[in-house]
Symmetry: C2
Subunit: 401 residues, 2 copies
Amino acid sequence: MNAKLAEIVKYAHNPISEYDLLVEKLIKQGKEIIKLNQGDPAIFFKTPKHIIEAYKRALDEGHTNYSSIEGVSELRNKIKERYHNLYNLDFDEERVIITNGVSEAIMFLNNAYINKNDNVLILSPFYPIYIPFAKMRGARIIFDKYEEINDEWTINTERIEKIAKNKKIKYMVLINPNNPTGAVLSEDKLDEIARIAKKNNILLISDEIYDEIVYNGAKFHSISEFVDDQPYIIFNGFSKDYDATGFRLGYAIFPNKDSLSNKLLDAFIKLASLRISSNTPAQYAMAYALDDEKEHKNEIYKMRKEIEKRTNFLTEGINGIRGMHAVRPRGAFYIFASIDKKVFKVKDDKDFVYKLLIKKSLYLSPGSGFGMKDYVRFVSLAPQEILEKAINLLNEFEKGA
Amino acid sequence: MNAKLAEIVKYAHNPISEYDLLVEKLIKQGKEIIKLNQGDPAIFFKTPKHIIEAYKRALDEGHTNYSSIEGVSELRNKIKERYHNLYNLDFDEERVIITNGVSEAIMFLNNAYINKNDNVLILSPFYPIYIPFAKMRGARIIFDKYEEINDEWTINTERIEKIAKNKKIKYMVLINPNNPTGAVLSEDKLDEIARIAKKNNILLISDEIYDEIVYNGAKFHSISEFVDDQPYIIFNGFSKDYDATGFRLGYAIFPNKDSLSNKLLDAFIKLASLRISSNTPAQYAMAYALDDEKEHKNEIYKMRKEIEKRTNFLTEGINGIRGMHAVRPRGAFYIFASIDKKVFKVKDDKDFVYKLLIKKSLYLSPGSGFGMKDYVRFVSLAPQEILEKAINLLNEFEKGA
């Protein structure tokens, strides 16, 4: 049988769920697994009541048919208002496309803009899903690294500028606030990046999905505050700020009207037309929920405070373990911790995650999946008693117990 | 700027929404457009109350977080039961993957199985979305045609067998009941196709999304009743039978456990892992709704009867128009009618659709988008008074009024 699979399947891999099948098996064997691998706030914080009610209203109103390819007008309008209110950014409703999570926006980006051997620039560590969609299109991925300086993760704009000068880069991705480091970029860095992208004709992708989840004194700035008349796309969604991961609603904004932005917007819509629309009642739900700004402010304030507390608690715990070190995050809900292979007697980060899972029933994500070996990623969303247990398990693990 | 779009964008095109932008413009100008272009039952038949209630229950129960990549176990189990009850087909729950509509399943199929220059066999007329996803992967599409014989659309298995012998075909698609012809294949034809596919090592794709919408004396048979120990995939979903298009939930079943089926199932899951999960509350909604078989039988019976009535009424009306002819459908809710270009004084089917829209505010889909020129597709879901208006408009259009 001519049964050869597509070559691109080899790139289809999500390291966050690397050991999911094993975890399922262990659970079936009666083990209790502490999962700190998936960034899903809706597991630990109930999706706000006003959003649930808005969803039910959408259903009662009969919004159960296909909606428009680009997303329902009511929701696109609310997104426009949101970016106006938060970042003083103005654009037409027509510049927003609703997607099935940011994942779909990432897929559209690569299907719309990448041909074989095109260069794209991605900073490690990164949200893993950016890689497979680029590779499936034949992109060459150029990596540069975040650095740990003065107990903060940050980017090296000088080095990025050199890369941008020497290679023809089609797009570059900023994930800010960052998954997995929790870094929030300064105004200076964002300004530099916008300038470098413009000067070198690089399409700028700003993934701002954690924009309302910053703490420890950090202030988030949207890339839109720094760009000039240059092409850029903002990715965002309702999974994190609105604690509604299961709705699978993201969006892409093309604020500027330069020719590339226009062409890409058009290409996104064409690609989106192949799947008709996103879930319709969920779109109306978010449109109605965004009407209630006061309720949202209240909810995000509480969640942010709690995430700050849990993240700081877990970071401190990690830093108390021999052979581990983590920078204190200032955004999102992840901690990216280095591991000393000698101390833990492991081959690499994957081996660490595997052994920790088997021996101690604690499930983390290997750093190599995010582009940095010898690190692991923690999700800091669980309640303090669970985080405490995790720290104890890690201490036992370090001691070889 | 190195601003060349991806070459594959040129394939991303959905002919069903070909003139959507124009329609929007006309509506803004105050025109009332009769849209018989989109196969969306939820516009004309309210999504059943028990499904809405099930959705609200899912929300109340807090099913708002990411769910598993493959889909929630509760729903996959119900799908397994459904195929057992309806077609006496048995498979493990693990052989089902929930997708964002059948569209996503079509995308996975091509991303999982197609390399450049692989041949695939598609029968015209076809559901248009099969084409772009195959072309975006570089497939060569071999077409064969449905034929109008004895006032029925059917397939020519002799010719298909010849093609299968002469070309290495990787997969072949059956859409049964058919969109856009309304054909329901006989047991003999299905048996022949299963045999041809097995003999020639062709993966068989059976798109059965209209399986419960057959009438005018037709009986639907699933391909699963005729296959042997050979690889095949069933595509289905909740948009049509359950009148819930806006939920965007489809599924793919890999009933057999041959090596290709196993490899493809694994590849689908890997590809699905890149978008984490489908909308979670909608999945639970359908799991709960499928529990209530009695309610569903009641609802689908009413809808089927009504669709039969409307479809027959519209077919008769079409056949009363000079220069048009349509076979009476036996499934789904489309009528695929030929047009006489001379009678209507049009260049082609696109010109027909465009002029009818501009002059008479009636919106159909051009047959060429479904692989057959000189045809147009009608959706027969609207109430009789609207269908009557449409027929009057067509009569006026024919008379040049």
